[in-house]
């Protein structure tokens, strides 16, 4: 009582919102957090939205998935269909398939929620993938964000696992064949494959256990892990603060953007509703996974043009590309009385293994090659890191070749070409596609850098053609303003780092390998224009008079 009557007037919020904030704060003590985050600055760029799309699709998945669990029954017991979809009346099927049909046809809004769930799942994995591409090509994975890159990679794998387990749940013909393929791949694992298959399916394929088991993974274990990873991911984003694109006023020591409250929060929050709206639009207008057309799972029939969901496509495509027999060489052979099925084992494990190993290790590989131990908060424009960009495009091309191979039969039927030829071409591209992509991308990146240099030194083309007194035609170039100019010149262009002796004065073989890689990484480079060069360019140019005239104009506005 006496405290309030002293001369020190306590802080009293003036508005109602202020009083509510104060009320909460006095009880939970969140003022420090609010002070820290309420106005935290977030850089803004359209390419930063992909991660948001992924997060929001996950939220949509949780909501629509919860609805579906209320009605779905993962039992593989036999039943006879008695619902309102007459073409399947009295057909023998599993309870799981039956309940999926009921969700689609007999529960109001069920079909809509199923479609929302499936579309959101496709979007979730897609946005994760695109987000990772953005992070890779802009170099956002560099110190201090290497570990968050790894968390992102784990999220991608979890998302694929979550997608595949969910895809299998309706127990329809298409997903059943997908499980059949998984069973075949598992059986190809040496020594323990048969056992794993029997443990997973609770006996022989298909058994009566698998749907229930996948259901537990799909609604409990994997989502919990995804949620945990998302929390870690976002926590690290907060710790690191967001990266920003290069530009005037931006450097590794600051962060330029909009304050979280209100404008950034409003944009990001509003964006959730936009993502939900777009998913709802797709669910309303485009049928996805029409399980009623496929029928219940039966090991005998299969429809032509079978396709997994897109994100499993690259593994399926690799399975298709691998030849089982070349001339008379069989990729399956018998070793000490046991069967080694390389024609299944290699394509199922090796490409995905390579992609994810390189993906996880890449930040450390690049850090080792460049010996760059600094913190980076300003992103690279992809053109300004030509070798990294080329590596990324090469990997992406490899992935896409395998992914396209998963649709080899559809390519053949749609474009009226021989299926065998499609496969032969894709097999070729599997090997040379990434190499070609690497070379082309690197050249394109260097060419873009040269273009930037030209513009920085000689100004942009105005499209105005002027005839000089002595008859020569020239195009007038206008210099850029300082801000645009700085964007073109304000980047680093490291040169190869030669091998350095260690503390004992020895150049180790490992260091020599590093130096060789560094040379490969940086030998082709375009250095940013310097003030001296700009000076020189203006000094000797024969269109100097006109340029300076333009300069006066640009100064005057």
């Amino acid at each position: 009582m006496s405290a309030s009557s002293t001369a020190e007037v306590p802080f009293v919020p003036e508005t109602k919102v202020g009083r509510i904030t104060d009320f909460v704060d006095e009880r939970v003590g969140g003022s420090g957090i609010l002070r820290e985050f309420g106005r935290k600055v977030f850089p803004d760029h359209w390419s930063f939205m992909f991660g948001e799309v992924a997060l929001y699709s996950f939220v949509i998945l949780l909501m629509s998935g919860t609805f579906l669990t209320f009605f779905f029954d993962p039992s593989m017991a036999e039943t006879h269909y008695a619902g309102s979809y007459t073409p399947l009346t009295n057909v023998e099927m599993s309870v799981a398939y039956n309940s999926s049909l009921n969700i689609s046809f007999d529960i109001r809004g069920g079909l809509f929620f199923r479609q929302v769930h499936h579309w959101a799942a496709l979007l979730f994995v897609a946005s994760l993938g695109v987000h990772m591409l953005r992070v890779f090509f802009t170099g956002a994975f560099r110190k201090p964000r290497e570990m968050n890159w790894v968390v992102g990679g784990v999220l991608l794998i979890l998302a694929m696992a979550e997608g595949f387990t969910g895809y299998s749940l309706p127990d329809d013909l298409l997903s059943g064949n997908g499980l059949r393929i998984i069973d075949g791949v598992i059986k190809s694992i040496p020594v323990i494959g048969t056992y794993i298959s029997f443990f997973l399916f609770g006996g022989e394929f298909p058994g009566t256990a698998i749907i229930g088991r996948l259901y537990v993974l799909h609604i409990l274990l994997v989502p919990a892990m995804i949620l945990l990873m998302i929390v870690i991911h976002l926590f690290m984003v907060v710790v690191h603060k967001h990266t920003q694109y290069p530009g005037p006023g931006r450097n590794d020591g600051n962060v330029v953007g909009y304050p979280l409250g209100p404008v950034y929060a409003a944009k990001a929050g509003g964006f959730f509703f936009i993502v939900f709206g777009v998913v709802a639009l797709m669910a309303a207008m485009f049928t996805i996974n029409p399980i009623w057309n496929y029928g219940p799972y039966d090991p005998s029939p299969v429809s032509a043009g079978t396709q997994p969901d897109w994100y499993i496509g690259f593994v399926d495509g690799a399975l298709r590309l691998m030849p089982g027999v070349v001339n008379d060489f069989h990729f399956e052979y018998i070793i000490f009385g046991h069967v080694l099925t390389l024609n299944v084992l290699l394509p199922a494990l090796v490409p995905a293994g390579i992609i994810f190993t390189v993906l996880f290790m890449y930040p450390w590989i690049e850090r080792w090659i460049t010996k760059d131990n600094r913190e980076h908060h300003v992103l690279d424009r992809p053109r300004n890191a030509p070798t990294r960009t080329a590596i990324g495009v090469a990997g992406f091309t490899w992935y896409c070749v395998m992914w396209a191979a998963a649709g080899s039969d559809l390519i053949a039927t749609h474009f009226h070409v021989a299926l065998n030829d499609v496969t032969y071409w894709l097999r070729t591209l599997f090997f040379i596609g990434p190499i070609l992509a690497f070379m082309v991308t690197k050249r394109v990146a260097l060419a873009l850098q040269r273009k930037d240099r030209e513009i920085a030194l000689h100004g942009r083309e105005t499209g105005r053609i002027v005839r000089l007194p002595h008859g020569e035609f020239i195009e007038v170039h206008a210099p850029l303003d300082d801000y645009k100019h700085y964007k073109l010149v304000g980047f680093e262009s490291p040169s190869p780092l030669p091998a350095e002796p260690n503390e004992h004065g020895v150049v180790t073989p490992k260091e020599k390998r590093r130096a060789a890689l560094s040379k490969w990484f940086f030998e082709d480079r375009v250095a940013p224009a310097t003030p001296a060069e700009l000076e020189a360019a203006h000094g000797h140019g024969h269109h100097e008079a006109i340029e300076s005239g333009e300069e006066h104009k640009s100064l005057s506005h």
Partner: protein, 356 residues
Amino acid sequence: MGNHSDGSPNHSGTVATAGQNVVEKFQDPGLPPHRLRLADTDPRAAKRAERQVAILFGISVIGTVIFLVSYFAIDLGQDSTIATIRTQNLLLGLGTAFAMLGIGTGIVHWAKALMPDHEVSEERHAIRTEEDRQAAVRIVEDIVEETGIKRRPLIRNTLLGAVALAPLPALAVFGDLGPRPDNTLAHTMWAPQDGKLKRLTRDPDGTPIKASDVTIGSAFHVIPEGLNELQEGKLNAKAKAVVLLMRLNPDDLTISKGRETWSYNGIVAYSKICTHVGCPVALYEQQTHHLLCPCHQSTFDLTKECKVIFGPASRPLPQLPIAVDAEGYLVATSDFKEPVGPSYWERDEHERLINS
């Protein structure tokens, strides 16, 4: 070839040393000046933006109403057809889409047009101070030191051993997720039961097939007699036993030694389960006598005992030995002479077991 490393296409630059901190660089001009938006300067534009935002929120309300009306007005009763469901799905979806997009675009428009759009620059603080860093490293070192784990290898090694063994019970528990494979994969339903040969019957109705029904060029999807009557494990049995039955001109067939009695008058039966990863090899190209698996396009040549001629499979499809019984129906004279379906580690062992 030009020297790329000097960076300029015509070799006029003097630049090869950037990145080594000796070349003078352009000064950062700082943040570009803030440009005011129309709504910042013109109150009428601000008012207009305000109205637009309100309209977008209004559209959201309409969307919600559409959802509710189509949810309650369209009843999925006994007489509902696929068309009703489609219409309801469309309306529910459009309602949700408008409801969500209205709110979303409204908020974003509000933020972009009316909320302050000053870009702010904030100092990036180091993740941790140098002092903290050293203290943290020291604390970890102290903790490790105080445990004495480095000085007491006995403790360390026994702990490592215990931790390494501790997950074994979990593995053992996983071992009970399913039965041991044993020889189940080696056998199918086609094995004669009590000396009675199994008839080939049509999939899915289970009616027996007479040899005379099988004309040249025709193909049958076949299941063993008695499959449909199985009380349990029907799909498991079917997943191994399905067979494709075809009749060719006997002259087209190349028959290897030991298989002379496996076919009847050009009628041959092969396992329908692909030797690659187990999809049903469901496509029969009648003209070329090829069997094609729609999953991964493995192609088998029927005239050469289903040898692989294309695709990822490495082994021919197993052949089912068939004959005709007294009533003219096709029967299997024995089980497959090798395990069907995708290869597995113990497959060769099982094949030897079958043939012993």
